[in-house]
Symmetry: C2
Subunit: 244 residues, 2 copies
């Protein structure tokens, strides 16, 4: 029992959104490790069945002292009424914060870069203190794995989620020097169609599971159109080797 | 002397581009620390006089065993014939790689996200093995410091360097849900003009020195137009609190 609890004047706990990096457990930061070690409660997203990627990344640093709150839902949230899952998780997390317990939500990559953390953030930030520990994003990890700069000098770079409409994707790709298309998954046939139409096949690289043991890097022409996982990415850099 | 050197068949060393994160020394990764510990030679960018930010971030982990190669130039490279500096540094680094010594270049943020590492990469990657250790980018660190998501759901997000032309900046800002304008520096008056014209002042936040002790976060209307440092950033998120 904390001093605050003994005095009956419990201070609210802090919610931490902790980026644990893109997959390689070595790409976690010292700050993420410190926060994870210090909090009594962890929450983590996971599929309906099976392991949480974010928890797996941090697993070597967990010593069994945490209460853990799983947040389970299908990988492709768009197909699913996810609001209720976040509502339930937010209530459970808030109950811990009310007791004065800090809670760390483990987030793949970076919490604020297209991360599901923001759905908890939106439900909790008005009533409780929130801090975000930025992490190595899959965007930077992908460029490192491919061995090619994301952007340089005065390049304009655009990040586009795979689900956006085909004509919008085509217009934006036409306009920029560098682009990352994220959340590729089942949208790969559409994305490949656009890239072929713009004659950018040679400038495009496909990657899935960046920095993990099952990482795949390939040219776009060699990818099975039906088998791209949700967490795959396509990088297009028109200036090619112009950084030399 | 290594076995290879004894046998007169020296294997080339590897060049590592090591992201050390945005400024807070706790935002360095375990992998960056391991590579730094294991290599015999470090190189780091620095201003003509004074300390290297990248080296300062890693300083607590340096034990004096490294040979160090400073790469000194003015902060705003565009004003300066930088090519010769990189040519000289590449020759010095290549001489170490030829001896079989691995060399780690310390990079603020992430090496491949608008980093000066790519100028060394372009000079060395054809002849020597190169590996990049991705780091926490100032982009993600800035969003964490501001306490507001960079992008979510199907947002299109664009990154624009401050030096691009005013009309291009305006067109791109019109088109996207979320934007980061990096390398603000002396381009702030132009950038603010565009943001005012598009009526986005309430959606814009200014930050400099993210995660460092001298971090500044403010609304754009409160920033001194003449005093923005080169490493400052403006985030614009049109959907505001739409992640709730």
């Amino acid at each position: 029992m904390s001093i605050a609890e003994e005095q009956g004047t419990t201070t609210k706990g802090t919610l931490y959104g902790v980026g644990v990096g893109p997959g390689d457990p070595e790409l976690i930061t010292l700050k993420a490790l410190r926060v994870i070690r210090d909090v009594p409660v962890l929450a983590w997203p996971a599929p309906l069945e099976g392991e949480s990627m974010a928890r797996t990344i941090a697993a070597d640093h967990l010593d069994g002292h945490h209460k853990e709150i799983p947040i389970r839902m299908p990988m492709e949230v768009a197909r699913f009424p996810a609001q209720q899952v976040y509502d339930t998780a937010a209530v459970e997390i808030a109950a811990e914060l009310d007791k004065g317990h800090d809670v760390a939500v483990l987030c793949e990559g970076d919490p604020f870069f297209y991360g599901s953390f923001m759905y908890l953030f939106g439900r909790i930030a008005e009533d409780y203190p929130v801090q975000v520990v930025p992490g190595v994003s899959s965007l930077m990890a992908t460029a490192a794995a491919i061995g090619s700069p994301l952007a340089s000098r005065n390049d304009v770079m655009t990040v586009m989620p795979g689900p956006i409409e085909e004509d919008l994707l085509e217009r934006r790709l036409t306009q920029v020097e560098s682009a990352a298309i994220i959340k590729v998954g089942r949208h790969l046939p559409k994305i490949r169609r656009v890239i072929e139409r713009l004659d950018l096949m040679n400038e495009a690289r496909y990657i899935s599971h960046a920095t993990m043991e099952n990482q795949v890097v390939s040219s776009l022409s060699e990818v099975d159109l039906e088998k791209a996982p949700y967490f795959s990415m396509i990088l297009v850099h028109k200036r090619g080797e112009a950084w030399k």
